[in-house]
Amino acid sequence: MLTAFMSYLGSEVSPGVAGNQLWALIYILIIFGGVSVAVIAMNWLERKALAHFQVRLGPMRVGPHGLLQPIADAVKLLIKEDIIPTEADKVVFWIAPVIGLLAAFTVYTVVPFGPSQAVSDMNIGILFMLGVSSLGVLGIVTAGWASNSHYPLIGALRSSAQMVSYEVAMGLAVVSAILMTSMNKDGTGTLSMIEIVRAQQDQHVWFLFKFFPLGLIAFVIFAIAMVAETNRAPFDLPEAESELTAGFHTEYSGLRWSLFMLAEYAAMIAVSSIAVTLWLGGWLRPFPNLLSGTAFDVIFSFFPGLTFLGLAAIAVLGTMRMPKHNYFRIQTLGLGAFAGVLGLIGLLLLVIAIAAPISHNGFLLRAATALNNVYWFVVKIAVFMYLFIWYRATWPRYRFDQLMAVGWKVMLPISLGVLIVTAIVGVIVS
């Protein structure tokens, strides 16, 4: 076991490719934990950001600035009574949220957080991702069916129609990005997630800017389709709370309901990571050509540490602005401690970033690069997460027929057109 553990260290490929199951398991656990924490953090952030969009404070009571609110929510959901309606199809009712969750989490097998920071690298990576993530609709349809109730049924029908129609435009947008990967010397494209990012590295351009504005249009199509795919506002028709009360999960409560929420947020991160990988250069730092050279490499390597220090500074500011009252003492201390932890992480990252190039230690260098890769990947995903919240705060909800019209009459023709033009331009250029 130790040899299995040690033999992978220093490897340049993901554990799945290296055939190292022990490290694959470690990565799976890290990603599972990381995504779960991200979902919890996202829960808090969404409530906070949405509240600030809407001139209110959001959670403020449970922990300083409501930081412990997601944990309180999770505990509440866990200890709630587990209700299965008498009329429901019990087995299917039980399986539905699990299907959704499995589909959402299986996708992460091929998400490349770095050139070797992925569980595995498949030569059909992007197909696998699209395929598995679209299995999520199965969970929603079965949930709606099993509930044996009108509102969930309508919600399930809506979501199946919606996801199927937006998948077409989504797939065509993805194909036009994949075409771009074949713009190299030997003209071979790739479907592997890691190779797609490598292709952007080799061609010295993020596919967002490739054949401007073709890459951009495909990206925008994908960015719209992925909101529809994850059932988020303004395409949140399957759970439109003002029309269908709660849509497909009307009859769900407690833990099962929280599984749906977990799956929804995990799916949001998953589709964002597809967009990041295909168009935004995956783990590559911004402007590798414009701002190239060792000096810029060093400056950009400070970013992870500085981000955490910045967050720590915000937390310190919050601590100082806490009311000076005995009632808030524990909260103030807690927020201060949180700031301290963030600051320590930031300092550690900074030390690694500074020490690595000086020491020429192979392990430190690899660690620093890995941290940078993961950092840039996560930051790009975070931008999408913010956009998801922003959409929700800004836009009304589409009506079902309008949603279909946008999907089939606007997005599909545009994505087809982009695909064809990309192919033609690609042939002309090469």
Partner: protein, 383 residues
């Protein structure tokens, strides 16, 4: 049963059909539903998502307000009317007080009329703000709700300072007003107007040219002018269908004749026009308040009204333009201290009749939009 209504109660009571063996789906929207503004129950007959017919079931909030009136003196009944349309309580009170004044042949003094107009128009803005927030929320835009509630708060503060209550104000008495304005009332109102003017722009920025909002509201819930008149629809819903009917202009009460304001009308009678009409109405209300607060005269605020109100035998119908439409009071007096009968003509109740006409053939999502645009308050529908 009436042929035009495909949902006879008899059909609904036959339990032999489940959704498995039928193409038509019967859904209960409400009485517990986030978008029915309280406890309205709409029975929807659906073909997929298409609405084949609707039937409103009301009465879940019935408190017998009209019956209560028969056992209360005229003065005692006054606060009860606030509980009908509780988001526009000031208008309710104005209508009732004026109806009894008409019955008694008394006229409120000019200063009282000015105070009444200012408070009623403030209430109209507050009511429209609440409508805007909930209507937008029904269509899926969350944020306007919080903006409108933030701004509505300023109006409620003025009410609270004036008469101590924020929602069910009981601001007026038969014969005028009980309370003199507090010190700084005029300044507060002027401050509010200055504060409110840019806020309408803020709401409109979020919605008026929003593509999704346009698609969700244009050509949704269309009702033509003649249809609206035939159904007895009043208020902004009628005006959006192109009928220029506003009781403040048509039969001026209080001292609305003294003020310059326009009646905004729409063209298509769809949800978007109703939205625009109400937005413009808020601006016009601000205009009226501005003129009233600048021209408010000195003088008494209460007419000479006997301690015990005992109108002569007779009957009276008086209506005012409440934020939601024509609010009428029909009072029959038998010469005693208590009314023999009070009948309220509530705008929400009458406007709700148009729901079926407006949503038939549309989709489920439109039902929600139309309920929002009709601006019903169940307290007033059920009374």
């Amino acid at each position: 049963m009436n042929d035009s209504n495909p949902l006879s109660p008899l059909d609904l009571e036959t339990p032999d059909k489940t959704y498995l063996d039928s193409n038509e789906l019967i859904i209960n929207m409400g009485p517990q539903h986030p978008a029915t503004h309280g406890v309205l129950r709409v029975i929807l007959k659906l073909d997929g998502e298409k609405v084949l017919g609707t039937e409103c079931v009301i009465g879940y909030l019935h408190r017998g307000v009209e019956k209560i009136a028969e056992n209360r003196t005229y003065t005692m009944f006054n606060p009860y009317v606030d509980r009908m349309d509780y988001v526009a309580a000031v208008s309710n009170g104005l209508g009732y007080c004026q109806a009894v004044e008409k019955l008694l042949n008394v006229e409120a003094p000019p200063r009282a009329n000015y105070i009444r107009v200012i408070l009623t128009e403030l209430n109209r803005i507050a009511s429209h703000q609440l409508w805007l927030g909930t209507h937008a929320l029904d269509i899926g835009a969350m944020t306007p709700l919080f903006y409108t509630f933030r701004d509505r708060e300023e109006i409620l503060k003025i009410f609270e300072k004036y008469c101590g209550a924020r929602l069910t104000t009981h601001a007026f008495r038969i014969g005028g007003c009980l309370y003199e304005t507090y010190a700084g009332f005029e300044k507060d109102v002027k401050n509010f107007l200055a504060f409110f003017a840019p806020k309408i722009g803020e709401y409109e920025e979020l919605l008026t040219t929003n593509r999704i909002w346009l698609e969700r509201t244009r050509n949704v819930g269309v009702i033509s002018g003649p249809d609206a008149i035939a159904l007895g629809v009043t208020g902004p819903v009628l005006r959006a269908s192109g009928v220029k009917w506003d009781i403040r202009k048509a039969q001026p009460y209080a001292n609305y004749a003294d003020f310059n304001f326009e009646i905004p009308i729409g063209k298509n009678g769809d949800t978007y026009d109703r939205y625009l009409v109400r937005m413009e109405e808020m601006r016009q209300s601000a205009r009226i308040i501005e003129q009233a607060v600048n021209g408010i005269p000195e003088g008494p605020i209460m007419a000479k009204v006997p301690k015990v109100i005992k109108p002569a035998v007779g009957e009276i119908y008086h209506s005012i333009e409440a934020p939601k439409g024509e609010l009428g009071y029909f009072i029959v007096s038998d010469g005693s201290t208590q009314p023999y009968r009070v009948r309220v003509r509530p705008p929400s109740f009458v406007n709700l009749q148009a729901l079926d006409v407006m949503v038939r053939g549309m989709l489920v999502a439109d039902v929600v939009a139309v309920i929002g645009t009709l601006d019903i308050v169940l307290g007033e529908v059920d009374r």
